[in-house]
Symmetry: C2
Subunit: 286 residues, 2 copies
Protein backbone atom coordinates (compact mmCIF):
# COMPACT_ATOMS: atom_id res chain seq x y z
CA UNK A 1 0.00 0.00 0.00
CA UNK A 2 2.79 2.37 0.87
CA UNK A 3 4.65 1.52 -2.33
CA UNK A 4 1.53 2.04 -4.43
CA UNK A 5 1.02 5.46 -2.92
CA UNK A 6 4.53 6.44 -3.87
CA UNK A 7 3.69 6.07 -7.54
CA UNK A 8 0.46 8.07 -7.51
CA UNK A 9 0.65 11.81 -7.60
CA UNK A 10 -0.68 14.90 -9.31
CA UNK A 11 0.29 16.06 -12.77
CA UNK A 12 -0.69 19.66 -13.43
CA UNK A 13 -0.73 21.93 -16.43
CA UNK A 14 0.09 25.53 -15.48
CA UNK A 15 -1.30 28.49 -17.43
CA UNK A 16 -1.42 32.08 -16.23
CA UNK A 17 -1.57 31.40 -12.48
CA UNK A 18 -4.21 28.67 -12.94
CA UNK A 19 -3.48 24.96 -12.75
CA UNK A 20 -5.45 21.89 -13.78
CA UNK A 21 -4.29 18.54 -12.47
CA UNK A 22 -5.13 14.87 -12.73
CA UNK A 23 -4.22 12.24 -10.18
CA UNK A 24 -2.36 9.23 -11.45
CA UNK A 25 1.11 8.11 -12.40
CA UNK A 26 3.58 8.77 -15.16
CA UNK A 27 4.00 5.75 -17.43
CA UNK A 28 6.45 7.04 -19.96
CA UNK A 29 8.36 10.16 -20.89
CA UNK A 30 10.47 10.90 -23.91
CA UNK A 31 12.13 13.95 -25.40
CA UNK A 32 11.56 13.89 -29.16
CA UNK A 33 13.25 16.14 -31.68
CA UNK A 34 10.41 18.64 -31.19
CA UNK A 35 8.93 18.33 -27.72
CA UNK A 36 8.62 16.43 -24.46
CA UNK A 37 6.07 13.63 -24.79
CA UNK A 38 4.53 12.23 -21.62
CA UNK A 39 2.07 9.40 -21.11
CA UNK A 40 0.29 9.69 -17.77
CA UNK A 41 -2.17 7.12 -16.44
CA UNK A 42 -4.90 9.20 -14.81
CA UNK A 43 -7.45 7.73 -12.45
CA UNK A 44 -10.28 9.77 -13.89
CA UNK A 45 -9.74 9.74 -17.65
CA UNK A 46 -7.45 6.78 -18.32
CA UNK A 47 -4.17 7.17 -20.16
CA UNK A 48 -3.43 10.73 -21.21
CA UNK A 49 -0.93 12.42 -23.51
CA UNK A 50 0.95 15.59 -22.61
CA UNK A 51 3.22 17.58 -24.93
CA UNK A 52 5.62 19.92 -23.14
CA UNK A 53 3.55 19.50 -19.94
CA UNK A 54 0.24 20.46 -21.56
CA UNK A 55 -2.71 18.05 -21.63
CA UNK A 56 -3.42 17.04 -25.21
CA UNK A 57 -5.82 14.15 -24.99
CA UNK A 58 -6.96 11.32 -22.75
CA UNK A 59 -8.61 7.99 -23.51
CA UNK A 60 -11.83 8.82 -21.67
CA UNK A 61 -12.00 12.47 -22.58
CA UNK A 62 -11.19 13.05 -26.19
CA UNK A 63 -14.44 12.63 -28.08
CA UNK A 64 -15.69 16.15 -27.34
CA UNK A 65 -12.56 17.51 -28.98
CA UNK A 66 -12.30 15.22 -32.00
CA UNK A 67 -16.01 15.01 -32.83
CA UNK A 68 -16.38 18.80 -32.63
CA UNK A 69 -13.37 19.48 -34.84
CA UNK A 70 -14.16 16.93 -37.56
CA UNK A 71 -17.93 16.63 -38.04
CA UNK A 72 -18.98 20.19 -38.81
CA UNK A 73 -16.46 20.03 -41.69
CA UNK A 74 -16.92 16.49 -42.98
CA UNK A 75 -20.69 16.45 -42.67
CA UNK A 76 -20.97 19.52 -44.91
CA UNK A 77 -18.15 19.41 -47.50
CA UNK A 78 -19.47 18.83 -51.04
CA UNK A 79 -17.46 15.64 -51.57
CA UNK A 80 -15.16 13.49 -49.44
CA UNK A 81 -12.71 12.10 -51.94
CA UNK A 82 -9.57 13.57 -50.42
CA UNK A 83 -9.32 14.81 -46.88
CA UNK A 84 -6.24 16.25 -45.19
CA UNK A 85 -5.32 16.36 -41.51
CA UNK A 86 -2.36 18.47 -40.35
CA UNK A 87 -1.20 17.32 -36.92
CA UNK A 88 -3.51 14.89 -35.15
CA UNK A 89 -0.79 12.36 -34.37
CA UNK A 90 -2.91 10.72 -31.67
CA UNK A 91 -5.25 9.36 -34.36
CA UNK A 92 -8.50 10.73 -32.90
CA UNK A 93 -9.31 13.05 -35.79
CA UNK A 94 -8.42 10.34 -38.31
CA UNK A 95 -10.77 7.92 -36.55
CA UNK A 96 -13.65 10.40 -36.81
CA UNK A 97 -12.92 11.14 -40.50
CA UNK A 98 -12.81 7.45 -41.37
CA UNK A 99 -16.36 6.98 -40.07
CA UNK A 100 -17.55 8.46 -43.40
CA UNK A 101 -17.96 5.56 -45.77
CA UNK A 102 -17.74 7.84 -48.82
CA UNK A 103 -14.32 9.16 -47.76
CA UNK A 104 -11.77 7.77 -50.21
CA UNK A 105 -8.36 9.02 -49.12
CA UNK A 106 -7.19 10.55 -45.89
CA UNK A 107 -3.77 12.18 -45.75
CA UNK A 108 -2.27 12.85 -42.32
CA UNK A 109 0.80 15.08 -42.07
CA UNK A 110 2.38 14.93 -38.62
CA UNK A 111 5.69 16.62 -37.85
CA UNK A 112 6.68 14.38 -34.96
CA UNK A 113 6.80 10.66 -35.72
CA UNK A 114 7.32 9.90 -32.06
CA UNK A 115 3.85 11.26 -31.22
CA UNK A 116 2.32 8.74 -33.60
CA UNK A 117 4.43 5.83 -32.36
CA UNK A 118 3.79 6.59 -28.71
CA UNK A 119 0.06 7.15 -29.31
CA UNK A 120 -0.25 3.87 -31.19
CA UNK A 121 1.48 2.06 -28.33
CA UNK A 122 -0.12 3.70 -25.29
CA UNK A 123 -3.36 5.27 -26.56
CA UNK A 124 -4.49 2.64 -29.02
CA UNK A 125 -8.14 3.23 -28.11
CA UNK A 126 -8.01 6.78 -29.49
CA UNK A 127 -6.78 6.00 -32.99
CA UNK A 128 -8.57 2.66 -32.79
CA UNK A 129 -8.83 1.03 -36.23
CA UNK A 130 -7.61 4.09 -38.08
CA UNK A 131 -4.02 2.93 -38.17
CA UNK A 132 -4.88 -0.15 -40.22
CA UNK A 133 -7.46 1.53 -42.49
CA UNK A 134 -6.13 1.38 -46.07
CA UNK A 135 -7.59 4.83 -46.79
CA UNK A 136 -5.18 6.46 -44.32
CA UNK A 137 -1.85 7.68 -45.65
CA UNK A 138 0.56 9.03 -43.05
CA UNK A 139 3.46 11.28 -43.90
CA UNK A 140 5.98 12.58 -41.40
CA UNK A 141 6.59 16.13 -42.45
CA UNK A 142 6.31 19.79 -41.48
CA UNK A 143 2.72 20.61 -42.46
CA UNK A 144 3.49 24.32 -42.85
CA UNK A 145 6.16 23.63 -45.48
CA UNK A 146 4.29 20.69 -46.99
CA UNK A 147 1.13 22.61 -47.93
CA UNK A 148 3.21 25.07 -49.99
CA UNK A 149 4.00 22.47 -52.65
CA UNK A 150 0.52 20.93 -52.91
CA UNK A 151 -1.46 21.60 -56.11
CA UNK A 152 -4.49 23.92 -56.04
CA UNK A 153 -7.92 22.43 -55.33
CA UNK A 154 -6.59 19.12 -54.06
CA UNK A 155 -8.72 18.53 -50.95
CA UNK A 156 -12.39 18.37 -50.02
CA UNK A 157 -11.75 19.11 -46.37
CA UNK A 158 -8.74 20.21 -44.33
CA UNK A 159 -8.52 19.65 -40.58
CA UNK A 160 -5.87 21.53 -38.57
CA UNK A 161 -5.39 19.54 -35.40
CA UNK A 162 -2.32 21.17 -33.86
CA UNK A 163 -1.37 22.10 -30.33
CA UNK A 164 -1.04 25.63 -28.91
CA UNK A 165 0.74 28.23 -31.08
CA UNK A 166 4.22 27.68 -29.67
CA UNK A 167 6.87 25.06 -30.42
CA UNK A 168 6.20 23.01 -33.56
CA UNK A 169 2.59 24.28 -33.93
CA UNK A 170 3.48 28.00 -34.02
CA UNK A 171 3.21 28.42 -37.80
CA UNK A 172 -0.25 26.79 -37.86
CA UNK A 173 -1.80 30.09 -36.79
CA UNK A 174 -0.52 32.46 -39.46
CA UNK A 175 -1.94 34.02 -42.58
CA UNK A 176 0.43 32.49 -45.11
CA UNK A 177 -0.41 29.02 -43.86
CA UNK A 178 -4.16 29.72 -44.03
CA UNK A 179 -3.73 31.09 -47.57
CA UNK A 180 -2.09 27.86 -48.62
CA UNK A 181 -4.89 25.89 -47.02
CA UNK A 182 -7.46 27.90 -48.99
CA UNK A 183 -5.51 27.41 -52.21
CA UNK A 184 -5.34 23.61 -51.91
CA UNK A 185 -8.97 23.33 -50.74
CA UNK A 186 -11.79 23.04 -53.26
CA UNK A 187 -14.20 25.97 -53.26
CA UNK A 188 -17.02 23.80 -51.90
CA UNK A 189 -14.66 22.16 -49.45
CA UNK A 190 -14.52 22.99 -45.75
CA UNK A 191 -11.58 24.08 -43.62
CA UNK A 192 -11.52 23.34 -39.85
CA UNK A 193 -9.04 24.39 -37.18
CA UNK A 194 -8.89 24.31 -33.43
CA UNK A 195 -8.69 27.98 -32.44
CA UNK A 196 -7.84 27.84 -28.74
CA UNK A 197 -9.75 28.84 -25.64
CA UNK A 198 -11.92 31.96 -25.78
CA UNK A 199 -11.13 32.38 -22.08
CA UNK A 200 -7.61 31.17 -21.26
CA UNK A 201 -6.17 32.31 -24.61
CA UNK A 202 -8.70 34.95 -25.59
CA UNK A 203 -6.33 37.09 -27.63
CA UNK A 204 -4.98 34.15 -29.66
CA UNK A 205 -8.53 32.96 -30.24
CA UNK A 206 -9.74 36.35 -31.52
CA UNK A 207 -6.67 36.87 -33.70
CA UNK A 208 -6.98 33.39 -35.20
CA UNK A 209 -10.64 33.87 -36.11
CA UNK A 210 -9.92 37.32 -37.58
CA UNK A 211 -7.03 36.03 -39.71
CA UNK A 212 -9.07 33.08 -40.98
CA UNK A 213 -11.83 35.58 -41.88
CA UNK A 214 -9.33 37.70 -43.81
CA UNK A 215 -8.33 34.65 -45.85
CA UNK A 216 -11.67 32.89 -46.43
CA UNK A 217 -14.88 34.52 -47.62
CA UNK A 218 -16.85 32.71 -44.91
CA UNK A 219 -15.62 31.66 -41.47
CA UNK A 220 -17.30 31.16 -38.10
CA UNK A 221 -16.14 30.03 -34.68
CA UNK A 222 -17.98 27.31 -32.78
CA UNK A 223 -17.75 27.01 -28.99
CA UNK A 224 -17.61 23.89 -26.85
CA UNK A 225 -16.01 22.19 -23.88
CA UNK A 226 -12.82 20.23 -23.35
CA UNK A 227 -12.43 19.92 -19.57
CA UNK A 228 -8.73 18.92 -19.67
CA UNK A 229 -7.78 22.06 -21.65
CA UNK A 230 -7.12 25.43 -19.99
CA UNK A 231 -10.43 26.88 -18.71
CA UNK A 232 -12.32 23.91 -20.20
CA UNK A 233 -13.84 26.27 -22.77
CA UNK A 234 -12.66 25.70 -26.32
CA UNK A 235 -13.25 26.81 -29.89
CA UNK A 236 -12.97 25.52 -33.42
CA UNK A 237 -13.30 27.67 -36.52
CA UNK A 238 -14.77 26.51 -39.84
CA UNK A 239 -14.36 28.20 -43.18
CA UNK A 240 -15.35 27.80 -46.81
CA UNK A 241 -15.06 29.93 -49.95
CA UNK A 242 -18.37 29.22 -51.65
CA UNK A 243 -20.81 29.68 -48.76
CA UNK A 244 -21.27 29.07 -45.03
CA UNK A 245 -22.01 25.46 -45.91
CA UNK A 246 -20.40 24.21 -42.65
CA UNK A 247 -23.52 25.47 -40.85
CA UNK A 248 -25.65 22.81 -42.53
CA UNK A 249 -24.72 19.14 -42.22
CA UNK A 250 -25.80 17.02 -45.20
CA UNK A 251 -28.68 14.99 -43.80
CA UNK A 252 -27.73 11.56 -45.14
CA UNK A 253 -24.25 11.94 -43.66
CA UNK A 254 -25.36 13.29 -40.32
CA UNK A 255 -27.87 10.46 -39.97
CA UNK A 256 -25.04 7.99 -40.46
CA UNK A 257 -22.60 9.76 -38.11
CA UNK A 258 -24.85 10.98 -35.28
CA UNK A 259 -25.45 7.48 -33.93
CA UNK A 260 -21.73 7.01 -33.41
CA UNK A 261 -21.19 10.28 -31.55
CA UNK A 262 -21.20 11.06 -27.85
CA UNK A 263 -21.13 14.84 -28.19
CA UNK A 264 -21.70 15.97 -31.75
CA UNK A 265 -25.19 16.13 -33.24
CA UNK A 266 -26.70 18.53 -35.79
CA UNK A 267 -28.62 20.16 -32.93
CA UNK A 268 -25.54 20.53 -30.75
CA UNK A 269 -23.63 22.01 -33.68
CA UNK A 270 -26.35 24.51 -34.53
CA UNK A 271 -26.44 25.67 -30.93
CA UNK A 272 -22.68 25.82 -30.56
CA UNK A 273 -22.24 28.16 -33.53
CA UNK A 274 -24.65 30.55 -31.81
CA UNK A 275 -23.26 30.12 -28.29
CA UNK A 276 -20.83 32.97 -28.69
CA UNK A 277 -20.42 35.10 -25.56
CA UNK A 278 -21.61 38.68 -26.04
CA UNK A 279 -18.22 40.28 -25.44
CA UNK A 280 -16.56 38.05 -28.07
CA UNK A 281 -19.27 38.79 -30.61
CA UNK A 282 -18.51 42.49 -30.11
CA UNK A 283 -14.74 41.99 -30.32
CA UNK A 284 -14.95 39.86 -33.46
CA UNK A 285 -17.07 42.49 -35.18
CA UNK A 286 -14.70 45.33 -34.37
Amino acid sequence: MFIRKLFYGWKDEYQKDVRYGLKGKKLFEHKSKFQKITIFESKRYGKALLLDNCWMTAEKQEKQYHECLVHPALSSAEELNNVLIIGGGDGGSARECLKYRELKQLKLIEIDKDVIEISRKYLSGIGNNCWSDPRLNIQIDDGIAWVKQVKDNSFDAIIIDGSDPKGPAKGLFNKEFFHNCKRILKSKGVFAAQTESPEAFERTHIESVKVIREVFKNADPLYGNVPIYPSGWWSWTFASESSRRYLNPIIARSNQISKTCEFWSPRWQKGSFDAIPAHLERKLKS
Copy 2:
Protein backbone atom coordinates in the same frame (compact mmCIF):
# COMPACT_ATOMS: atom_id res chain seq x y z
CA MET B 1 10.85 39.19 -2.13
CA PHE B 2 11.38 36.06 -0.11
CA ILE B 3 8.67 37.08 2.33
CA ARG B 4 6.23 37.88 -0.45
CA LYS B 5 6.75 34.43 -1.93
CA LEU B 6 5.96 32.84 1.38
CA PHE B 7 2.43 34.20 1.24
CA TYR B 8 1.66 33.10 -2.31
CA GLY B 9 0.63 29.55 -2.93
CA TRP B 10 -1.91 27.36 -4.67
CA LYS B 11 -5.45 26.80 -3.52
CA ASP B 12 -7.09 23.80 -5.18
CA GLU B 13 -10.58 22.36 -5.31
CA TYR B 14 -10.49 18.56 -5.45
CA GLN B 15 -13.24 16.56 -7.21
CA LYS B 16 -12.99 12.92 -8.31
CA ASP B 17 -9.21 12.78 -8.82
CA VAL B 18 -9.18 16.10 -10.66
CA ARG B 19 -8.00 19.37 -9.16
CA TYR B 20 -8.37 22.97 -10.19
CA GLY B 21 -6.16 25.56 -8.52
CA LEU B 22 -5.56 29.27 -8.47
CA LYS B 23 -2.36 30.94 -7.35
CA GLY B 24 -2.67 33.60 -4.70
CA LYS B 25 -3.03 34.00 -0.99
CA LYS B 26 -5.67 33.38 1.62
CA LEU B 27 -7.06 36.64 3.01
CA PHE B 28 -9.64 35.36 5.44
CA GLU B 29 -11.18 32.15 6.72
CA HIS B 30 -14.12 31.64 9.01
CA LYS B 31 -16.19 28.68 10.12
CA SER B 32 -19.84 29.70 10.08
CA LYS B 33 -22.73 27.74 11.56
CA PHE B 34 -23.08 25.96 8.20
CA GLN B 35 -19.77 25.86 6.38
CA LYS B 36 -16.17 26.99 6.06
CA ILE B 37 -15.99 30.35 4.27
CA THR B 38 -12.70 31.34 2.66
CA ILE B 39 -11.69 34.50 0.85
CA PHE B 40 -8.68 33.93 -1.39
CA GLU B 41 -6.94 36.65 -3.36
CA SER B 42 -6.11 35.02 -6.69
CA LYS B 43 -3.65 36.52 -9.13
CA ARG B 44 -5.79 35.63 -12.14
CA TYR B 45 -9.36 36.37 -11.09
CA GLY B 46 -9.07 38.73 -8.12
CA LYS B 47 -10.70 37.95 -4.80
CA ALA B 48 -12.55 34.65 -4.74
CA LEU B 49 -15.02 32.95 -2.39
CA LEU B 50 -14.78 29.29 -1.41
CA LEU B 51 -17.36 27.38 0.64
CA ASP B 52 -16.03 24.17 2.18
CA ASN B 53 -13.00 24.36 -0.16
CA CYS B 54 -15.06 24.64 -3.34
CA TRP B 55 -14.76 27.68 -5.61
CA MET B 56 -18.01 29.61 -5.59
CA THR B 57 -17.25 32.88 -7.30
CA ALA B 58 -14.46 35.34 -8.06
CA GLU B 59 -14.50 39.05 -8.80
CA LYS B 60 -13.18 38.69 -12.35
CA GLN B 61 -14.98 35.48 -13.21
CA GLU B 62 -18.55 35.56 -12.06
CA LYS B 63 -20.52 37.19 -14.85
CA GLN B 64 -20.81 34.03 -16.96
CA TYR B 65 -22.49 32.32 -14.02
CA HIS B 66 -24.79 35.10 -12.82
CA GLU B 67 -25.83 36.41 -16.24
CA CYS B 68 -26.63 32.90 -17.48
CA LEU B 69 -28.70 32.01 -14.42
CA VAL B 70 -30.72 35.21 -14.23
CA HIS B 71 -31.42 36.56 -17.74
CA PRO B 72 -33.14 33.64 -19.45
CA ALA B 73 -35.68 33.81 -16.59
CA LEU B 74 -36.07 37.53 -16.06
CA SER B 75 -36.03 38.46 -19.74
CA SER B 76 -39.00 36.15 -20.38
CA ALA B 77 -41.25 36.13 -17.29
CA GLU B 78 -44.62 37.80 -17.94
CA GLU B 79 -44.16 40.41 -15.22
CA LEU B 80 -41.39 41.38 -12.81
CA ASN B 81 -43.28 42.63 -9.78
CA ASN B 82 -41.93 40.13 -7.30
CA VAL B 83 -38.81 38.08 -7.82
CA LEU B 84 -37.30 35.57 -5.40
CA ILE B 85 -33.69 34.41 -5.05
CA ILE B 86 -32.89 31.44 -2.82
CA GLY B 87 -29.19 31.45 -1.93
CA GLY B 88 -27.05 33.90 -3.83
CA GLY B 89 -25.44 35.42 -0.75
CA ASP B 90 -22.59 36.90 -2.81
CA GLY B 91 -25.03 39.35 -4.38
CA GLY B 92 -24.22 38.58 -8.04
CA SER B 93 -27.65 37.24 -8.92
CA ALA B 94 -29.34 40.13 -7.11
CA ARG B 95 -27.21 42.61 -9.07
CA GLU B 96 -28.31 41.05 -12.37
CA CYS B 97 -32.00 41.01 -11.33
CA LEU B 98 -31.91 44.64 -10.27
CA LYS B 99 -30.81 45.69 -13.76
CA TYR B 100 -34.48 45.35 -14.79
CA ARG B 101 -36.06 48.73 -14.22
CA GLU B 102 -39.56 47.21 -14.11
CA LEU B 103 -38.62 44.88 -11.25
CA LYS B 104 -40.45 46.09 -8.16
CA GLN B 105 -39.43 43.82 -5.28
CA LEU B 106 -36.61 41.34 -4.94
CA LYS B 107 -36.61 38.93 -2.02
CA LEU B 108 -33.35 37.14 -1.21
CA ILE B 109 -33.44 34.21 1.21
CA GLU B 110 -29.95 33.16 2.29
CA ILE B 111 -29.37 30.58 5.00
CA ASP B 112 -25.93 31.78 6.07
CA LYS B 113 -25.74 35.42 7.13
CA ASP B 114 -21.95 35.18 7.30
CA VAL B 115 -21.76 34.59 3.53
CA ILE B 116 -23.55 37.89 2.96
CA GLU B 117 -21.47 39.80 5.48
CA ILE B 118 -18.18 38.44 4.18
CA SER B 119 -19.19 38.97 0.54
CA ARG B 120 -20.21 42.58 1.25
CA LYS B 121 -16.87 43.19 2.92
CA TYR B 122 -14.46 41.37 0.60
CA LEU B 123 -16.33 40.99 -2.72
CA SER B 124 -18.14 44.31 -2.87
CA GLY B 125 -17.70 44.45 -6.65
CA ILE B 126 -19.91 41.39 -7.12
CA GLY B 127 -23.00 42.61 -5.27
CA ASN B 128 -22.10 46.14 -6.28
CA ASN B 129 -25.01 48.52 -5.70
CA CYS B 130 -27.48 45.76 -4.97
CA TRP B 131 -27.01 45.96 -1.22
CA SER B 132 -28.26 49.55 -1.09
CA ASP B 133 -31.07 49.12 -3.64
CA PRO B 134 -34.37 49.76 -1.83
CA ARG B 135 -36.07 47.03 -3.91
CA LEU B 136 -33.91 44.32 -2.29
CA ASN B 137 -35.25 42.65 0.83
CA ILE B 138 -32.86 40.18 2.48
CA GLN B 139 -34.06 37.53 4.89
CA ILE B 140 -31.74 35.11 6.67
CA ASP B 141 -33.63 31.85 6.62
CA ASP B 142 -33.63 28.27 5.39
CA GLY B 143 -35.06 28.61 1.87
CA ILE B 144 -36.33 25.02 1.84
CA ALA B 145 -38.49 25.59 4.93
CA TRP B 146 -39.32 29.17 3.99
CA VAL B 147 -40.97 28.36 0.64
CA LYS B 148 -43.43 26.01 2.39
CA GLN B 149 -45.25 28.88 4.09
CA VAL B 150 -45.39 31.24 1.12
CA LYS B 151 -48.81 31.84 -0.50
CA ASP B 152 -49.56 30.39 -3.95
CA ASN B 153 -48.76 32.50 -7.03
CA SER B 154 -46.59 34.98 -5.18
CA PHE B 155 -43.62 35.36 -7.53
CA ASP B 156 -42.96 36.22 -11.15
CA ALA B 157 -39.58 34.54 -11.20
CA ILE B 158 -37.66 32.29 -8.82
CA ILE B 159 -33.87 31.93 -8.99
CA ILE B 160 -32.22 29.02 -7.15
CA ASP B 161 -28.62 30.06 -6.66
CA GLY B 162 -27.30 27.42 -4.28
CA SER B 163 -24.07 25.50 -4.04
CA ASP B 164 -23.54 21.78 -4.73
CA PRO B 165 -26.16 19.38 -3.30
CA LYS B 166 -24.40 18.69 -0.02
CA GLY B 167 -24.26 20.66 3.23
CA PRO B 168 -26.83 23.45 3.47
CA ALA B 169 -27.78 23.25 -0.24
CA LYS B 170 -28.74 19.56 -0.20
CA GLY B 171 -32.51 20.10 -0.05
CA LEU B 172 -32.42 22.51 -3.00
CA PHE B 173 -32.32 19.57 -5.39
CA ASN B 174 -35.41 17.62 -4.35
CA LYS B 175 -38.93 17.20 -5.62
CA GLU B 176 -40.79 18.61 -2.64
CA PHE B 177 -38.76 21.79 -2.85
CA PHE B 178 -39.40 22.13 -6.59
CA HIS B 179 -43.14 21.52 -5.98
CA ASN B 180 -43.22 24.39 -3.53
CA CYS B 181 -41.39 26.59 -6.02
CA LYS B 182 -44.00 25.79 -8.67
CA ARG B 183 -46.83 26.49 -6.25
CA ILE B 184 -45.56 29.94 -5.28
CA LEU B 185 -44.65 30.87 -8.88
CA LYS B 186 -47.23 32.43 -11.18
CA SER B 187 -48.15 30.27 -14.16
CA LYS B 188 -46.51 32.70 -16.59
CA GLY B 189 -43.56 33.10 -14.27
CA VAL B 190 -40.19 31.44 -14.83
CA PHE B 191 -38.17 29.20 -12.52
CA ALA B 192 -34.35 29.03 -12.82
CA ALA B 193 -31.85 26.82 -11.02
CA GLN B 194 -28.19 26.02 -11.38
CA THR B 195 -28.16 22.29 -12.15
CA GLU B 196 -24.48 21.37 -11.82
CA SER B 197 -21.90 20.20 -14.30
CA PRO B 198 -23.00 17.83 -17.08
CA GLU B 199 -19.47 16.40 -16.92
CA ALA B 200 -18.09 16.47 -13.37
CA PHE B 201 -21.51 15.80 -11.78
CA GLU B 202 -23.32 14.19 -14.68
CA ARG B 203 -25.64 12.04 -12.58
CA THR B 204 -26.74 14.93 -10.36
CA HIS B 205 -27.28 17.06 -13.44
CA ILE B 206 -29.46 14.48 -15.17
CA GLU B 207 -31.46 13.69 -12.04
CA SER B 208 -32.05 17.39 -11.35
CA VAL B 209 -33.33 18.06 -14.86
CA LYS B 210 -35.55 14.98 -14.73
CA VAL B 211 -37.07 15.93 -11.37
CA ILE B 212 -37.70 19.51 -12.50
CA ARG B 213 -39.43 18.07 -15.59
CA GLU B 214 -41.62 15.87 -13.39
CA VAL B 215 -42.75 18.95 -11.47
CA PHE B 216 -43.12 21.57 -14.23
CA LYS B 217 -44.94 21.11 -17.53
CA ASN B 218 -42.01 22.69 -19.38
CA ALA B 219 -38.34 22.60 -18.43
CA ASP B 220 -35.09 22.73 -20.39
CA PRO B 221 -31.41 22.73 -19.50
CA LEU B 222 -29.05 25.34 -20.91
CA TYR B 223 -25.30 24.69 -21.14
CA GLY B 224 -22.43 27.11 -20.60
CA ASN B 225 -19.02 27.63 -19.09
CA VAL B 226 -17.76 28.56 -15.65
CA PRO B 227 -14.00 27.89 -15.72
CA ILE B 228 -13.56 27.92 -11.92
CA TYR B 229 -16.19 25.19 -11.44
CA PRO B 230 -15.39 21.46 -11.79
CA SER B 231 -14.79 20.63 -15.48
CA GLY B 232 -15.60 24.25 -16.43
CA TRP B 233 -18.81 23.00 -18.06
CA TRP B 234 -21.99 24.08 -16.31
CA SER B 235 -25.77 23.94 -16.64
CA TRP B 236 -28.82 25.91 -15.58
CA THR B 237 -32.38 24.67 -15.96
CA PHE B 238 -35.39 26.88 -16.68
CA ALA B 239 -39.02 25.93 -16.20
CA SER B 240 -42.50 27.37 -16.56
CA GLU B 241 -46.05 26.02 -16.35
CA SER B 242 -47.76 27.90 -19.14
CA SER B 243 -45.26 27.43 -21.99
CA ARG B 244 -41.56 27.29 -22.81
CA ARG B 245 -41.55 31.07 -22.58
CA TYR B 246 -37.98 31.09 -21.20
CA LEU B 247 -36.79 30.28 -24.74
CA ASN B 248 -37.91 33.71 -25.97
CA PRO B 249 -36.62 36.87 -24.28
CA ILE B 250 -39.04 39.79 -24.44
CA ILE B 251 -37.40 42.11 -26.95
CA ALA B 252 -37.76 45.40 -25.08
CA ARG B 253 -36.16 43.83 -22.02
CA SER B 254 -33.35 42.08 -23.85
CA ASN B 255 -32.50 45.30 -25.68
CA GLN B 256 -32.14 47.01 -22.31
CA ILE B 257 -30.12 44.22 -20.68
CA SER B 258 -27.85 43.00 -23.52
CA LYS B 259 -25.74 46.13 -23.50
CA THR B 260 -24.82 45.53 -19.87
CA CYS B 261 -23.81 41.87 -20.34
CA GLU B 262 -20.44 40.31 -21.03
CA PHE B 263 -21.72 36.81 -21.77
CA TRP B 264 -25.50 36.71 -22.11
CA SER B 265 -27.23 37.76 -25.29
CA PRO B 266 -30.43 36.48 -26.92
CA ARG B 267 -28.23 34.77 -29.55
CA TRP B 268 -25.97 33.15 -26.98
CA GLN B 269 -29.03 31.95 -25.06
CA LYS B 270 -30.68 30.47 -28.13
CA GLY B 271 -27.51 28.58 -28.97
CA SER B 272 -26.89 27.40 -25.43
CA PHE B 273 -30.31 25.78 -25.11
CA ASP B 274 -29.45 23.74 -28.21
CA ALA B 275 -25.83 23.00 -27.27
CA ILE B 276 -26.75 19.79 -25.50
CA PRO B 277 -24.23 16.98 -26.02
CA ALA B 278 -25.71 14.02 -27.92
CA HIS B 279 -25.27 11.52 -25.07
CA LEU B 280 -27.10 13.80 -22.62
CA GLU B 281 -29.95 14.36 -25.04
CA ARG B 282 -30.36 10.58 -25.21
CA LYS B 283 -30.12 10.15 -21.43
CA LEU B 284 -32.63 12.92 -20.73
CA LYS B 285 -35.13 11.36 -23.12
CA SER B 286 -34.87 7.93 -21.59
